[in-house]
């Protein structure tokens, strides 16, 4: 008998997470704003934190990461290393719901961009999620 794969939906949670969808979409059934829940909500939060520059969040000048500023540095292995450290520190400081298990920053020299691939574990749950996004200097 094949075992049914375990997903986060099958786990009993002590706490649920629910956030507005940053795409600001409309829920076609409720006609209300769309929401994201649980691991999706955490994923969205991590992305928000990494892509927020310090000073951008009102009255919280230290919040966020410096990755956007770093994109203006020459793209070399040292910068990639710094970028990784910066992302790790930011998530460690501002997103307590996760533990990062793996982080890879892959430079694309042709397009002057960095693909960030982040693997993390949600604290208290045996679930590992991944998130991937591209950092590119705004043209």
């Amino acid at each position: 008998m094949a075992l049914k794969p375990i997903t986060s939906r099958d786990l009993k949670r002590s706490r649920a997470f629910k956030d507005i969808n940053m795409s600001i979409l409309k829920n076609p059934f409720t006609k209300d704003i769309a929401s994201v829940t649980n691991e999706e909500s955490i994923k969205q939060s991590i992305k928000n934190i990494v892509l927020t520059a310090p000073g951008e969040k009102l009255f919280n000048p230290k919040f966020g990461s410096n990755v956007y500023n770093m994109l203006f540095e020459p793209l070399d292995p040292f910068m990639i290393d710094s970028l990784q450290v910066e992302i790790l520190n930011t998530i460690k400081n501002y997103e307590k719901r996760v533990e990062v298990t793996n982080l890879r920053c892959i430079p694309d020299y042709d397009y002057n961009s960095v693909t960030v691939s982040l693997e993390y574990r949600i604290v208290g749950l045996p679930i590992t999620e991944t998130i991937q996004f591209v950092l590119q200097r705004p043209s």
């Binding site: 997470f17 956030d19 928000n48």
Partner: protein, 692 residues
């Protein structure tokens, strides 16, 4: 559920209020995570609320005089109360000039005129005469003497407007640092005319007619002043085509004060139309530059405007007198008015006004009379205003502080300067030098103890210093009162029989003999005077002190002995603190002593008549914890304290300064703790040089 904290003005409070609201809802849950989209949304909402509430709060604050902070708003509210803040004031100096005129046809000119405009330089600034000054020339020597010329620091500026009633015109003085006391407003009928009408400033419209040449002054934006003319009903209305000319001094204010060296650069022209170069004049400085001040501060406007309005141009309550006197006499630093019924014995039908001047000097009789006359038009018919001199009660604190050498990280001089700063702050915060303010030793000591973390213990000796103002070569009794009881140095000792043997007037008795007669009656003096000279012994410095039983003993020092010349030279009422010295005939005090010939007589007694002599009296109060002003017309000043600092373990001296009164150091009025005034404007009225 509604947000629970509607009064929150802080961003975090507003945010927390929104989160509290969201906690009661089930739609979203991630508001506590700073990275969530909801958190960003809450931030925006909070920021918007914060901004709106700040704006509302700011707008409402600025709408009221007591809470507004922006000068233009304060001034606008004060304008509704008919109050015009005083402008920057130029520094003024007084000089005399001597010019040797030239003969024309073997005769000297009849007179010579110092022309208006820049007449001197000093301190890298220009000093002006605001109007031409003409004096007669001595026909024998040809010398013309300008006894008192007032120099005004700044640059004379003229500015004109062409009247155009069709357009809505505002006549603004286009300079921020223009001294409005020097403003002269003239109007010419047209641009080509040379005839000028002078317009006068009015602040009260009750007596202004439709044809009077008057203008009104008010402060407008950016510390500039605006001139408004009549409307044809109250004051003459200006006609199209007329030309308004403003002439005023743009000055640097108080920066130019204390300039005392001037070089003459003015121009003279005599009655024979001969011009003279600046080198023809010899300049002598009579009064160094003073009275320059900055524009009235926001605090001062907020303080004065409502009081000025409350007085309503009439003096009924004592506060009205205080406000109006400040307005009439801008050299008044603080003013106290009190009814004669408050005096002992009461004097009905009079209101007494004591004025403390900014320059520290007393008002002369001419100023007092002038003020009294001006006040008559404000006062009620049956009330007579009386201007009196301010009595000053000086408090001399001697501070002894100990410090812990093991913890003291700094040197002793730092502790001393910190204590000095703390005393200054105490004096400023309690505004000790204002009328009706009392001295509190506990607050004073609290300030001293908390002045420096290394101060372990403090002990303060308090004594009082007053001055008897004696008139020379007249037999008088002079009384001063401390207003509070004086110390009894030995309450258990009473006067016993036997001391009467020494009580004949003008009998010299060696004090050593007296004490052997009645040792039990000896009390340590709590009142001591500085030195003075009496007509009976004009060549000898004498002093007085109290005997502890209500008498003042006059003596002089011979070697190391006190020689009593009058054991009853005055009386002391220890309960009321009244010290009466006399009858005595004073001919000198301190270092101001008469010349005495070989016979021990005064060389020129007529020179002493009418001279005022100050005699310092130092006394010990019975209760130094709180010292009240002796009467409503008195003020308390704190003499710069003597501070002694010693390491912990040294015995601090007792708090009562018995045996350590030092009136000799107060023969010249000592330096006191200066407390800055909220508005610092000057006036020339009580310096004779500026009046002539």
């Amino acid at each position: 559920m509604l947000p629970n904290n509607l009064t929150a003005l802080d961003f975090e409070d507003i945010k927390s209020s929104i989160k509290t609201y969201l906690r009661t809802r089930e739609e979203f849950l991630d508001y506590d995570f700073e990275g969530s989209g909801l958190s960003y949304l809450i931030d925006v909402l909070s920021y918007n609320t914060y901004y709106s509430s700040f704006m509302a709060n700011m707008s409402m604050n600025e709408a009221f005089l007591s809470s507004s902070t922006v000068r233009d708003n304060v001034v606008n509210i004060a304008k509704l109360l008919s109050y015009t803040p005083t402008s920057i004031k130029c520094s003024k100096a007084c000089v005399s000039l001597k010019v040797q005129t030239q003969q024309t046809g073997e005769s000297y000119p009849n007179n010579i005129t110092l022309q208006k405009g820049p007449i001197a330089t000093g301190g890298n600034r220009t000093w002006n005469a605001l109007s031409p000054v003409t004096v007669e020339v001595d026909q024998t020597t040809g010398i013309a003497e300008f006894l008192a010329v007032t120099l005004n620091q700044g640059s004379i500026i003229t500015f004109s407007y062409l009247v155009d009633n069709f357009a809505k015109q505002r006549y603004v003085i286009p300079a921020e640092s223009a001294d409005m006391e020097t403003l002269s407003v003239t109007v010419r009928p047209n641009e080509s005319s040379t005839i000028k009408d002078t317009y006068n400033l009015v602040s009260n419209i009750t007596e202004v007619k439709s044809t009077n040449r008057v203008y009104f002054l008010s402060e407008t934006e950016d510390e500039r002043y605006e001139v408004t003319f009549g409307d044809g009903t109250i004051g003459r209305k200006l006609i199209d085509g007329e030309v308004i000319e403003f002439e005023y001094l743009v000055t640097e204010g108080s920066i130019a004060n204390d300039t005392s060296v001037f070089t003459f650069i003015g121009k003279f022209i005599d009655s024979n139309t001969v011009n003279y170069a600046p080198s023809a004049a010899k300049l002598t400085v009579k009064e160094k530059a003073q009275f320059g001040s900055e524009a009235e501060t926001i605090e001062s406007v907020k303080f004065n405007a409502p009081r000025y309005y409350a007085a309503q141009n009439r003096a009924v309550t004592t506060q009205d007198y205080e406000t109006i006197v400040k307005r009439l006499y801008s050299n008044a630093k603080t003013v106290a008015a009190y009814g004669g019924d408050e005096l002992n014995p009461p004097i009905y039908g009079k209101v007494y006004i004591a004025i403390k001047t900014k320059t520290g000097s007393s008002l002369n009789d001419a100023t007092k009379t002038s003020l009294k006359t001006q006040l008559r038009s404000y006062a009620m018919a049956s009330i007579e205003p009386v201007i009196v001199d301010t009595n000053t009660l000086y408090i001399y604190p001697r501070i002894f502080a100990s410090y812990d050498p093991s913890t003291a990280s700094r040197d002793v001089s730092n502790i001393t300067s910190n204590i000095q700063d703390a005393v200054n702050q105490y004096a400023q915060q309690s505004e000790i030098n204002n009328f009706n303010n009392n001295f509190s030793l506990s607050k004073f000591q609290k300030a001293v103890t908390s002045s420096d973390p290394n101060v372990a213990d403090t002990s303060t000796q308090i004594s009082l210093v007053q001055y008897v103002k004696a008139t020379g070569n007249q037999s008088n009794t002079y009384c001063v009162s401390t207003g509070s009881p004086l110390l009894d140095s030995a309450p258990n000792l009473t006067l016993t029989t036997g001391s009467g043997t020494t009580e004949s007037e003008n009998t010299e008795v060696d004090v050593t003999i007296t004490t052997t007669i009645n040792e039990a009656c000896k009390k340590e003096p709590v009142i001591k005077s500085g030195k003075f000279r009496l007509a009976d012994r004009p060549g000898i410095d004498q002093y007085f002190e109290d005997d502890g039983f209500g008498n003042l003993v006059i003596y002089y020092i011979s070697g190391n002995r006190k020689v009593i010349t009058n054991p009853k030279g005055g009386t002391v009422d220890y309960n009321s603190g009244t010290i009466c010295f006399g009858p005595v005939n004073i001919v000198g005090s301190g270092g101001d002593v008469p010349d005495v010939n070989v016979d021990g007589e005064i060389d020129s007694p007529e020179l002493i008549v009418g001279t005022d002599f100050n005699i310092a009296i130092q006394s010990i109060p019975s209760n130094p914890s709180i010292i009240y002003t002796p009467d409503p017309g008195s003020i308390i000043e704190i003499i710069v304290p003597t501070i002694s600092v010693s390491p912990l373990g040294t015995n601090l001296p007792p708090t009562i300064p018995l045996n350590s009164l030092t009136p000799e150091i107060f023969e010249i009025v000592p330096p006191i703790i200066e407390i800055p005034d909220i508005s610092n404007n000057g006036n020339l009225a009580n310096i004779s040089c500026f009046n002539s």
